[in-house]
Amino acid sequence: MSNERYGRRVPGPVQSIERAAAILRLLARGSGRLGVGEIASSLELAKGTAHGILRTLQRVGFVEQDRATGKYQLGAALLHLGTSYLDVNELRSRAINWADALAARSGEAVRIGAPLEGSVLVVHHVFRPDDSLQTLDVGSLLPLHASALGKVLLAYDVELVGVLQRGELTAFTRRTIVAPKVLARALTEVRDHGWAADVEEYAPGQASIAAPIRGYGGLVVGAIGVSGGVERLCDGRGEPASALVGYVRDAARAVSRDLGASRW
């Protein structure tokens, strides 16, 4: 097959990715623990080059370095390659300070969600800072198609949309999106704008706003958002208040930066 089949040159192989793959294959053999010098000489690479690639592989979790010996081995992230989502407790731990700051700035309750078996699992919950009686709902499930958190997760995960469309979309209120075509349009909008909202789509009088949390390379690993009464979350026209949208997106970007997503 020609590289110029479509009249535009498709770029050739990327050398550093080939080298990275060779390093991973090398580490997968034998004892599986090698020093940077051993790796460099096996592959006839300059030590500096091998080191640079190893550092990058370490950053994304594909290799790990033994603290005592300094040798490299395959990382745990490779074993969990099929499950691209971050450990939910790790996600909470990394996001907790930013979630607190979002609650303090917005004055609203904050939740962080990750997908679980066709629903949104609430992995973190910060109370609305008014000291009213509230119950921690970490561990509870929200519908993907009727919550801002869920729509964000759907917008960046084709697989998840597929799972959802095999079943029926439950109507929770008159405003719940139940038509797959309408949902698809809504998800395009989420991708265009970088955030999602639900206005009385899950419960009458309630609204939510959410934005994606990204990990290495921009992979969406969860969503963070605020929820509360429509009268507080939305403006006079019933649209999500732009100040709140800004706070939510700032918080999502801050968590993403902490998780290593450099561009967001």
Partner: protein, 516 residues
């Protein structure tokens, strides 16, 4: 009028942080810089006080710059600091005499054993509320005076002075050799073994017991009062408060009423309970300490229980056993099972601290059967932090005559929902996490803001405190009782493991301090 802020400095063990808070207690700007740890010999831990001061010289203007704030918008500055670390310096030049000796340093172990054998030793605990141990400042000062040539004479003449880290920073900020104010606050002074806990003054008999000249010591002041204004770095800012870091956390968590308590969960954990206007003498191995002292008001006392191994047990599970790759995964692994399967881990890695104080104890994993999986072990790891908290709380309730009704928590482990829920279960009281996790810095800011009227009173500060999460107890009482009994049986199995004369790192009364 431009928005006004309070600044806090947290001079910690590994880094110095500078934070601006607004009137609602919200974090506005944060900068921090780590400093080097020096380990010249086994058991020795030192910091370079000049490096710490230079870091602060850079951080303070940087914090204002980041927030685009002018110095006159800062109404006051409060300092929280690593406790018990001491530095000696020349009053005329501002140059430290060697490095600061850090609270983790155990070089004074033989000196402390020697002092403990003297008749007056029994009086030390009664006067200071503290056991005679390497953990506190006075043995370190004595060690330096005994060994550094000519320093004792210079100290007696008043040329060489001593201070904990807040003293060093306040002296430098207020001019250093050029009119610097040499003061300490009661909470820091209460950790030296030199202050009489009842009079809140340096005690002559304690000074002569440790052979430390009074002239070299700073003046003891309240935790909140204006010590002076900065004349260097960013001149003109009122210095309104200083507290030891754990005391600052108690203040930041607004534990202002007797019986209110906070626990900071880090590698080790520190539980402090407000016991009101009179010191509660401990018969259960807790420390009696000054909680805080606001201006001219009477001091508020506290009981402190330190748990040596909490977060560090999770780190051991990760690094020593390799069963998880990151600390938060302990919760994921623990949730793969419904209970501990009859397994208990007692992390007496370097003996047992409060309330047992058994230096010869060593850790056990009890109740092992072929049924036990790594999930059960993960549960047992988390539950160990819960039961250790319960033992300290029981000791506190007994010593104070008060009943803990809620535990306020902060620190990294509060992100672990399973653990926080378990602590609520075993204490049978609600566990509450506040919205601002930086309770140490917030406490120093609160105290400083209070000193200058930025906040009117303690009630005003309470209104700033907001609940971010609450875990309520849901364990069946019979199960709580039987599980606690099992834990205590597991603890008993750790006793007497180290034989006398066997080489080990803990000798006599000298115990390794908990990490934080």
């Amino acid at each position: 009028m431009a928005q006004r802020y309070v600044m806090s400095i947290d001079q910690g063990t590994t880094s110095t942080r500078c934070i601006l808070f607004d009137q609602r207690g919200r974090l506005h700007s944060l900068v921090q810089k780590e400093h080097q740890q020096h380990y010249p010999k086994p058991g020795w831990v030192e910091h370079d006080a000049v490096e710490i001061w230079r870091n602060l010289e850079r951080l303070l203007p940087q914090c204002l710059r980041d927030a685009s704030i002018a110095a006159d918008q800062v109404v006051a500055l409060g300092i929280a600091n690593q406790r018990e670390t001491v530095v000696l310096w020349d009053r005329h030049t501002g140059v430290p005499i060697g490095h600061a000796i850090v609270w983790q340093d155990t070089r004074t172990d033989e000196l402390v054993e020697d002092l403990a054998a003297r008749p007056f030793a029994a009086t030390v605990h009664e006067r200071t509320g503290l056991p005679l141990a390497t953990y506190f400042s006075a043995p370190r000062i004595k060690w330096l005076l005994d060994r550094l040539p000519g320093v004792r004479e210079r100290a007696e003449r008043g040329d060489v002075v001593v201070g904990t880290m807040e003293s060093w920073l306040i002296w430098n900020l207020t001019g250093g050799p050029d009119g610097g104010v040499h003061v300490t606050d009661v909470t820091n002074a209460s950790r030296t073994l030199l202050m009489n806990l009842h009079t809140l003054a340096w005690d002559d008999e304690l000074l002569s017991f440790f052979d430390i000249p009074r002239r070299m010591l700073p003046e003891i002041r309240s935790s909140t009062e204006t010590y002076g204004r900065t004349t260097r770095v960013v001149p003109g800012i009122r210095i309104g408060a200083a507290l030891g870091d754990q005391h600052a956390a108690l203040f930041g968590q607004t534990c202002f009423a007797p019986g209110e308590a906070k626990c900071t969960y880090g590698t080790g954990s520190f539980l402090l309970m407000n016991t009101g206007a009179t010191p509660a003498h401990s018969t259960h191995g807790l420390l009696t300490t000054v909680g805080y002292k606001i201006g001219e008001e009477p001091a508020v006392y506290a009981l402190e229980g330190s748990i040596a191994i909490t977060g560090s047990l999770v780190q051991w599970f990760r690094d020593g056993l390799g069963l998880i790759t990151s600390a938060p995964e302990i919760e994921t692994l623990a949730r793969t099972v419904d209970d501990n399967g009859g397994c208990y881990i007692v992390p007496a890695f370097s003996g047992l601290f409060a309330p047992y104080w058994r230096s010869e104890a060593r850790g056990v994993i009890a109740g092992l059967t072929s049924y036990i999986t790594k999930g059960h072990l993960a549960r047992a790891v988390l539950e160990a932090s819960g039961w250790q908290t319960r033992e300290v709380v029981d000791a506190m309730n007994a010593d104070s005559g008060l009943e803990l009704s809620t535990l306020k928590v902060d620190g990294g482990m509060t992100a672990d929902n399973l653990l926080m829920g378990f602590i609520a279960d075993v204490l049978n009281v609600p566990v509450v996490r506040p919205m601002v996790v930086e309770t140490v810095s917030l406490g120093a800011a609160y105290a400083a803001g209070l000193a200058v009227g930025y906040w009117p009173d303690l009630e005003g500060l309470r209104r700033n405190w907001h609940r971010a999460a609450q875990w309520s107890p849901s364990m069946d009482p019979d199960r709580r009782t039987s599980e606690y009994a099992n834990w205590r049986r597991a603890v008993e199995l750790t006793f007497g493991w180290m034989r006398p004369h066997e080489p080990h790192e803990m000798g006599g009364v000298v115990v390794a301090p908990p990490a934080r």
